[in-house]
Subunit: 135 residues, 3 copies
Amino acid sequence: MIGEISVEIPGQGLHEITARVADLVRQSGIQEGLCTVFLQHTSASLLIQENADPAARHDLERWLNRLVPENDPLYTHTQEGADDMPSHIKAALTAVSLAIPVAGGCLALGTWQGIYLWEHRRQRGRRRCVVHVGS
Amino acid sequence: MIGEISVEIPGQGLHEITARVADLVRQSGIQEGLCTVFLQHTSASLLIQENADPAARHDLERWLNRLVPENDPLYTHTQEGADDMPSHIKAALTAVSLAIPVAGGCLALGTWQGIYLWEHRRQRGRRRCVVHVGS
Amino acid sequence: MIGEISVEIPGQGLHEITARVADLVRQSGIQEGLCTVFLQHTSASLLIQENADPAARHDLERWLNRLVPENDPLYTHTQEGADDMPSHIKAALTAVSLAIPVAGGCLALGTWQGIYLWEHRRQRGRRRCVVHVGS
C-alpha cells in the first residue's frame, strides 16, 4: 500500500507525525510487515527521537543550528535565503527515509520513540511524505 | 518474518551484531529480499562500518565524542546524566534503521562491512532491535 | 528483484545515479512497491539531495570537508592515506542505505530530488550498489 501525508508546517522545528503514520498502517490492514516513510524534500528531514521531555528536542535543534549556522561565508548557494543552504546540510546529516517494522498491526516503535518531520526552513509551508506499507 | 535481537551492552561503544542479524535471515529461509534492522531506542544508533582495523572504529568514536561533548552549556535536558543529551544528538546524526538486501539467502554486505549497535550512554544495559525480513 | 549498479568514480564528489536506479525499477515491472539502494562500502555514501543548482552540492561538500578535515591529529587509522579516516567518518554521518517508494511504476522522488553516490576517497575507482525492488 502507498499512502501520502501532507503536513502543514508553521516554520522551523520538529513536528510530530507519529499518529499520521500509524493511521496509514492501520488502514493497510497489514499485521506483520514494514512501513517506510519517505520525505519528498531536500531542506527538511525525518527523525525518530524521544517523545517525552520536549527539552531534548529543543536542545537537539539548538545544537544543530549552532553546528550549521546561517550566513557562513563558505556558502555560495545563497539566492534562496540565509536559511536555505544550512537546511540542505542539515538534511544531508539526518534522514529523508525511515523504515519501521510493523508487528501486531502496529508500528514497532520503542516506548519513547516518536516520528518527527524536522523542518529546517523558517517560512510556513507544506511538506509531503510518501508512505509504503508492505508485508 | 519479524524477529528480535536483544543485546547486552557493557557500556559506550560499538558492538558488532552482524552474526545475530545473519542468523535471523537464515531462519527466515528467504533467498532474495530485504532485511531491515530497527533500533527501539533514542540514545543509541545502528551503524554499518569497517569490520577490519579496529582503529577506524576507535577514531570514529573519539571524533564523535569530540564533536558532541558532555557538559556543553547549551544543554538544558540534563536531569538524566551528562551523557544523555549528547547521546540523543549522536543518535540524530546517525541511524536507527538499516535496510540491507538479501541475496542467495545471505545479507548482501560488502567485504569490509559489519553491522554495529553504537551505544552512546555510559552505563551497562540492554538494547532491543526489531528485524524484518521480507521478499 | 535484486539488481546491481556498478559506478565508475573519477574521484571525490557527488555522482548522480538517479537514472541508473530508475532503470532497475522499470525493469522490475513493479507498479507499487519499495526500492532500496544499498552501498557495499564504508568510505562512500548514498545521498538524496537537490538536483537543481550545483552550487548547493558544492557547498555541501566543502562544508563536510571542513567539518571532517584530513590530517586531524586525533586519527590513528592513517595507514590507508590521509583521506581514509575522514571518509569513514563522513560515511557514518550520512547513509549507506536509501529506501524510496515506487508509485505508478516510478521512483516517488520529489521534484528537486536526485540520488547521489557520494565518494569520499580521492582516487579513481569503482563502487557497487545492490538494489532491491519489492512490492
